[in-house]
């Protein structure tokens, strides 16, 4: 399975629709402080089903929707999609290409889509269950998190192992 692209609209500082394509191998994302690099990580974790606002540096759903700037009004909703090439049937579904989408409104409602048809969060979480990309996946390390893996107490570290295995 390959990650093909990320599409972001209205998520945190991404006021305009933005598309990032991912080739094979190594992709580097660079930019000044506060430009929006870590917001890309938050968007990917969010669309994969992350439920804890705190893990994404927010307190409530509105913190994830573009909140306005000196030149722009705030937006009413955010939508993030992640597309995978599934020709190797890594994900247990028949589609050759799988796109998961998450949409949230300021009212707090969240909608999930699998290849453009509505589904539940549970469906997305089940799809990715055995891939190691679940909630506490070691494959996605947020800024500042790497040292805390070592500083955690042995019993808390066990929790991470259980989730990751």
């Amino acid at each position: 399975m390959q990650l093909k692209k990320l599409e972001v609209y209205g998520f945190k500082s991404f006021a305009d629709k933005t598309v990032i394509e991912f080739p094979a191998g190594i992709t580097a994302i660079v930019g000044p402080n506060g430009s929006g690099k870590s917001n890309v990580v938050d968007a990917i974790r969010w669309v994969l089903g992350e439920q804890s606002a705190k893990e994404l540096r927010g307190e409530k759903v509105e913190d994830f929707i573009f909140n306005g700037s000196k030149t722009r009004h705030k937006l009413g909703y955010t939508q993030v999609s992640l597309t995978f090439d599934n020709c190797d049937s890594y994900l247990s579904t028949d589609f050759n290409e799988v796109t998961i989408t998450r949409k949230a409104y300021r009212s707090g409602e969240s909608e999930y889509y699998l290849n453009k048809s509505r589904c539940r969060l549970k469906d997305i979480q089940e799809l990715f269950l055995d891939t190691g990309l679940g909630r506490h996946s070691f494959a996605m390390i947020s800024q500042g998190q790497v040292e805390s893996l070592i500083e955690a107490r042995p019993i808390d570290r066990r929790q991470l192992f259980d989730d990751a295995c």
Partner: protein, 161 residues
Amino acid sequence: SREKFLEAFYEIKAEFESLFTNLFGGGQATLLLEEGDILEAGIEIKAQPPGKKLQSIALLSGGEKTLTAIALVFAVISVKKVPFYLFDEVDAALDEANLLRFLALIKDKAEASQIILITHRRRSMEEAHLLYGVTMEEKGVSKILALRLEDKNAAATYESN
């Protein structure tokens, strides 16, 4: 179940030991299960950078902790074949020598999986097949530009020197 956990634990432990020695260019480390019921026991880490005595990991330096954590991350992920890795500035605390060993590991893993690195380090940017620059030309609004290889030097204005 106990068997399933123990099987995964010993696989991760073996992988962690070899990755640690590889990343530190020597030394040794291991994972230990605390006393008590296997299904609830915590996981201890013992680490010994090259030439030093075996000590509690609390005494490791900032860069040594980062490197040990990277070895642990790759060890745990090796049990499941993940399609992509996403790392946000994990290379920030590493000195030049450790950074090069980390990048050698990344290049090795990039043959089987996609790797997305958010970084300020010039050396890391040089290893990327594709470079994206995130900017806020319009303050408060993020835009993404794909930078060509020769733009890499232009990207140097983003890097942290």
